[in-house]
């Protein structure tokens, strides 16, 4: 594995309309390795979503430096949003093909490939539906399909399962893991769910708030597929809980 993203001394200050400032992130130093599943874990308001937006390029204003490996470009990034962000006036199919349309890469072969992806995510019956006609779980499947359709090297996920019920979230976590194993892309995800972080992540960046910093990066050595009810899993959950509670 080689480093694809390096962040040095990243800080971010927000200013409200009254001119009051708020330091969202302070002195973040981080590397992301190719093909890893990296998780930012922390309580609400610790700046994990802001950090994800900085890395993905959605938040262009920050202090510090961010270096990408030469072969990693903006076009290699994809994003899965917490509230799905599916354009409501487009059908499921149009939403999924949006990235390919934008990049003028919608060839016949590519279309076949994406239709396979749509089938594998169980969306083939819904391609002519509008997002409002889908359940939350199906909407997020569309969000994941849209993100995967452009064959990204890096996928960013901002609390992708937090708006879903626990049963749907569990199924989608397993599907995401299976896609990651198959495609070997890099995944950077934000969550406040400790169990989710342990189940999915190779490394877990534990963050604390005011200002947002990374306290520690835990390497998750539990063997995959991870047994959620194992002693080791619970031990790790306890350790992470303590870290978050103590530092916050």
């Amino acid at each position: 594995m080689s480093t694809i993203i390096t962040q040095k001394n990243i800080s971010k200050v927000f200013k409200d309309f009254r001119g009051h400032t708020f330091q969202a992130l302070h002195d973040i130093n981080l590397t992301i390795e190719e093909g890893e599943f990296f998780i930012f874990l922390g309580p609400s308001g610790c700046g994990k979503s802001t950090l994800l937006r900085i890395i993905s390029g959605l938040e262009p204003k920050f202090k510090g430096s961010q270096i990408f490996r030469d072969d990693i470009h903006k076009e290699d990034f994809s994003f899965v949003f917490q509230q799905f962000a599916l354009l409501p006036w487009l059908t499921v199919e149009e939403n999924i093909f949006l990235g390919l349309q934008a990049r003028n890469t919608l060839t016949t072969d590519k279309k076949k490939e994406v239709l396979e992806l749509i089938k594998s995510l169980g969306l083939e019956k819904f391609i002519n539906e509008y997002p409002k006609e889908l359940s939350g779980g199906m909407k997020q499947r569309v969000g994941i399909a849209r993100a995967l359709a452009i064959n990204p090297k890096v996928i960013f996920l901002d609390e992708p399962f937090s708006a879903l019920d626990s049963f749907t979230a569990k199924i989608l976590r397993e599907e995401l893991l299976s896609i990651w194993h198959e495609r070997k892309m890099t995944i950077i995800m934000v969550t406040h769910n400790i169990e989710e972080a342990i189940q999915l992540g190779d490394r877990i960046g534990v963050m604390s708030s005011r200002p947002g910093t990374i306290n520690t990066i835990k390497i998750n050595t539990l063997p995959r597929p991870r047994e959620l009810r194992s002693k080791e899993f619970f031990e790790m959950e306890d350790n992470l809980t303590k870290l978050i509670i103590i530092k916050d």
Binding site: A85, L86, L87, W89, A102
Partner: protein, 243 residues
């Protein structure tokens, strides 16, 4: 019987009822004006010419207002340019348009161009500000989605800006048309046009019966246009942006 376009998932026609209503809304004003012409001894040609000419002026002004209002809104709804442009638009829309009437007459004379110019001034502002409002209400996540997928240029308009602006466009068009009906009669009378609804009402100003029936007929036309075109479009546009 329902004819449903599965792809867009909207009921296009509730067939019989829709057909009956459409025919009723088109035929009733026509029948009304035929009876009106007969009762008041106005020739059908004169009556329908006056209505037709005013409608054509309205349609031309409406198309210009839609293109200009929507285009300006899309260009200036956000970013640094909006800081300068929006206060200017606000001042311009507050200018009493009839104050500029003598100038316009001096420039274009007693012509349809002058009438259309004033109709555009009446319609453009509600369209522009409604579209701006629609675009400003777009969820930040949608903006981020199009940014991450790199939607630009014509495709940005086709897949994002235009659909997001449609509810504002329709709302603005409804309000703008309401103001334009008032403006067209006044402008045609003030500048002394020879044809159109303005001169029609002016020539029967001393006949309350004809004036009353004329206003009633005009309201029937407005009601039919709203019922057949504008209100269904408004419903559809709002249903499109529902999540």
């Amino acid at each position: 019987m329902y004819i449903s376009n599965k792809k867009h998932h909207h009921i296009v026609y509730k067939m019989h009822w829709h057909m009956i209503m459409t025919v009723f809304l088109v035929v009733t004003p026509v029948v009304f004006f035929l009876l009106f012409a007969k009762m008041t001894n106005i020739t059908i040609y004169t009556l329908f010419t006056d209505i037709g000419i005013s409608l054509i002026r309205m349609i031309i002004a409406f198309i210009i207002s839609i293109i200009l209002g929507w285009g300006l809104a899309v260009l200036f709804y956000h970013g640094k340019s909006s800081i300068i442009a929006l206060p200017i638009f606000d001042v311009l829309q507050s200018i009493p348009t009839f104050a500029a009437l003598p100038l316009a007459v001096m420039y274009w004379g007693k012509s349809s161009t002058t009438v259309i110019f004033f109709l555009v001034l009446a319609m453009i502002w509600p369209i522009l500000f409604s579209v701006i409002s629609s675009l400003k209400l777009i969820k930040n996540e949608y903006q981020e989605a199009i940014k991450i997928y790199g939607l630009k240029g014509w495709k940005l308009i086709r897949y994002f800006t235009f659909p997001a602006s449609v509810p504002g466009l329709i709302t603005g068009a409804i309000v703008g048309l309401g103001e334009a009906w008032e403006a067209i009669i006044a402008t045609e009378i003030i500048i002394g046009m020879n044809t159109g609804l303005g001169p029609f009402f002016k020539s029967f100003a001393n006949n309350p019966k004809i004036t009353t029936f004329g206003i009633f007929g005009l309201l029937m036309i407005i009601f039919s246009i709203n019922k057949i075109f504008l209100l269904p479009l408004l419903d559809r546009s709002h249903s499109l942006v529902e999540e």
